[in-house]
């Protein structure tokens, strides 16, 4: 069983062991382009003035992602932050605010959030966009389904032409849109 969730909803969520110890809170959701999945979370300490922690939480160490906390078995699941992502990536490669371009060079809008399908893994299945003139009316918030793999650098995110016509307004319609874009063979996606 899996559930759709917006990635920014995870930022700030407490990380708690099954023994009930609160270790910190989620700071960054780290998304690996190679497999289109979340590979883990960087962490910050608790409280207003707490800074980032050296240790990070790999996805394999997550016991459950609940509505109020990310549960882990115990403190042995942590890894070093540098194992998860480079410092320059953490500083410069935030997807939020990035521009989404089609393979034909049309700017569809800017990323407002990332939609995750959370089950045994956490797959990136779409972006929440604030639309440009290419998807009228401009400034609207829509959900854009993604094929399995997309190009993303943090500055520009490139998607096939065909997905531009599959934007939906809410999560209820989104599952069908994702199914539709993922059922198209990779070679035919840009020919819509």
């Amino acid at each position: 069983m899996s559930a759709l969730m917006q990635a920014t909803a995870l930022v700030g969520r407490p990380v708690v062991t099954l023994a009930g110890d609160e270790i910190g809170q989620v700071k960054d959701v780290v998304y690996t382009v190679a497999d289109g999945r979340v590979t883990g979370f960087t962490l910050a300490g608790r409280g207003l003035l707490a800074g980032p922690l050296r240790r990070a939480l790999p996805w394999a160490g997550v016991h459950a992602v609940g509505p109020d906390a990310v549960m882990i078995r115990d403190e042995d699941v942590f890894t070093d932050r540098d194992e998860l992502a480079e410092r320059t990536e953490l500083r410069d490669h935030n997807l939020i605010g990035g521009t989404v371009l089609t393979e034909g060079g049309t700017a569809l809008g800017t990323v407002d959030d990332v939609v995750l399908d959370i089950g045994a893994s956490a797959d990136v299945v779409g972006y929440r966009l604030v639309t440009s003139e290419a998807i009228p009316p401009a400034g609207r918030s829509v959900l854009l389904p993604l094929p399995g793999k997309v190009a993303a650098s943090g500055e520009a995110l490139v998607v096939p032409e065909s997905v531009a016509g599959l934007v939906v307004d809410d999560l209820a319609e989104f599952t069908a849109a994702v199914r539709s874009v993922r059922s198209v063979p990779e070679g035919e996606r840009s020919c819509a």
């Binding site: 920014t8 382009v33 194992e83 998860l84 992502a85 480079e86 990536e89 953490l90 490669h93 943090g154």
Partner: protein, 47 residues
């Protein structure tokens, strides 16, 4: 105080501020969704 003391103190404050402001900004950076690139292996990863 002599004029050169004021210059020294002002320069010391400027140097401290130049170092501290980026450090505070790094600490205060809000979380988000970070992209880890294909073939860009973080340092220290065991293979």
């Amino acid at each position: 105080m002599d004029w050169w003391v004021w210059i020294f103190v002002t320069m010391a404050i400027a140097v401290l501020a130049a170092g501290l402001i980026p450090a505070i900004q790094r600490l205060r950076r809000r979380g988000g969704v970070v992209v880890h690139q294909l073939g860009n292996e973080p340092k220290g990863r065991s293979r």
